[in-house]
Amino acid sequence: MDIQEYIESGILELYVYGALTQKESEEVSAILAQYPEVQQEVEQIEAALQSLSSAAAPYNPEALIAAIKSKLRNADGVIQLQPSASQKRARILSFISVAASIIFLIGIFVLLNRTNNLREELQTVEVEKTQLESKLNYSEEALQETKEILAVIRDPQVTKVPLAGQQVAPEAYVNVFWDKTSNKAYIDAMGLPEPPEGFVYQVWSLRLDPLTPTSMGLLENFSEDENKVFELENPNDSQAFGITLEPAGGSETPTMEQLYTLGVVQGNA
């Protein structure tokens, strides 16, 4: 390498300015460490530039060192300036804050617990309330039904047809309340025994001459019905009503061997 040429190229001035890339600078640094002439040249350039820029300073800022040093102390001297008293205080403070946190947590736990208990109580009360409400509804419905039944019984338009127990069940009895205007028949089946499992009572409207049965329907859910009063449609010109025990789902024609009750509509006998 021609060192003189390298120096004359002007790269060293740019090096001191900081105008080279980092890579270029590192290359110059390496050469600088190797060649004393280059080192000397750089020192001279640097000295000249320092003189030039110093001349551009408003004054020699020697006095500012005090301000800078006090700023340095403020920045990194906090720990040294504050003696152990503050550390002790900090420890007490941290103890207090930990204790406060624990108390706070306990408080929260107690409150949560109480809240849970209250919530459970509330749920119990809610359930009880619902139960009472449904009981009330049920009673109201039952009352309404009873009222309706009573109204039917009292209605002068309604024909009462008593059905008497037959051979299979001599003790059985049924009253049919037949409202001809609304084509409805109310079957009061209180006097029928509970049907055996898999069987159902079927109500028949009968014409007598010749004997012609027409199914009016089934007394479904017999066991569950408390009043044992069943409302059925009856658009037929009935002369008599009969009730037979049939297999679940009912039959096309009545099983006469299982005729429980039978009664004739008055005025048609």
């Binding site: 300015y17 900081g18 080279l20 980092q22 390496a30 000249a48 003189s51 030039l52 001349a55």
Partner: protein, 176 residues
């Protein structure tokens, strides 16, 4: 001579070393900052910030990357340019036209004993317009070669050689 021993002690957070480094470089760094800001008070502020950064970040300097003076220069120019971008500074300086170090040197009457005042005055007087601009951009403003060549409409290769001639003249005057 670069005070390598002092720099090493500075990097070990030796306060005495820091004071001596400050004594060595503060005036020239102050001058660089002032050439950018043209405001004594603002320059004082920035100078303090720069040397606080020097203290805090001294371990980031390594001679492999370049001169310690160059490292200081970079910190100072960046801090000064940041200052020019601050709102308060802009508002205060909005009427300023483009100035450079030459204005400061021409208008300055008192120099410290460290500075060869007569030499500098003589240098500025004889310095060509082109040299003034080249030195201002490369040295005081921290432009790269490429940026300088674009700014002055000068071929890239010429920037380097032209600048050397400008600095050679300065060295001649100061030595004689």
């Amino acid at each position: 001579m670069q005070p390598d021993e002092l720099i090493l002690r500075l990097q070990q957070k030796d306060e005495k070393a820091f004071e001596r480094i400050y004594a060595l470089y503060s005036e020239s760094i102050f001058g660089v900052i002032n050439s950018v800001l043209h405001d004594t008070e603002a320059s004082e502020e920035v100078l303090q910030d720069v040397f606080i950064k020097v203290w805090d970040n001294s371990e980031s300097y390594t001679s492999k990357k370049g001169r310690f003076f160059t490292w200081l220069l970079n910190i100072a120019r960046n801090a000064a340019i940041d200052k020019t971008r601050s709102k308060a500074f802009k508002n205060q300086k909005k009427n300023l036209t483009q100035e450079y170090f030459v204005d400061i040197l021409e208008n300055k009457s008192s120099f410290t004993s460290k500075v060869d005042a007569i030499g500098i005055k003589k240098y500025i007087k004889t310095l060509g317009e082109e040299c003034k601009k080249v030195i201002d951009l490369l040295f005081f403003k921290g432009y790269t070669q490429k940026e300088t060549s674009e700014e002055l409409n000068m071929p890239l290769g010429t920037v380097k050689t032209r600048n050397r001639l400008c600095i050679n003249k300065l060295r001649e005057i100061l030595v004689n």
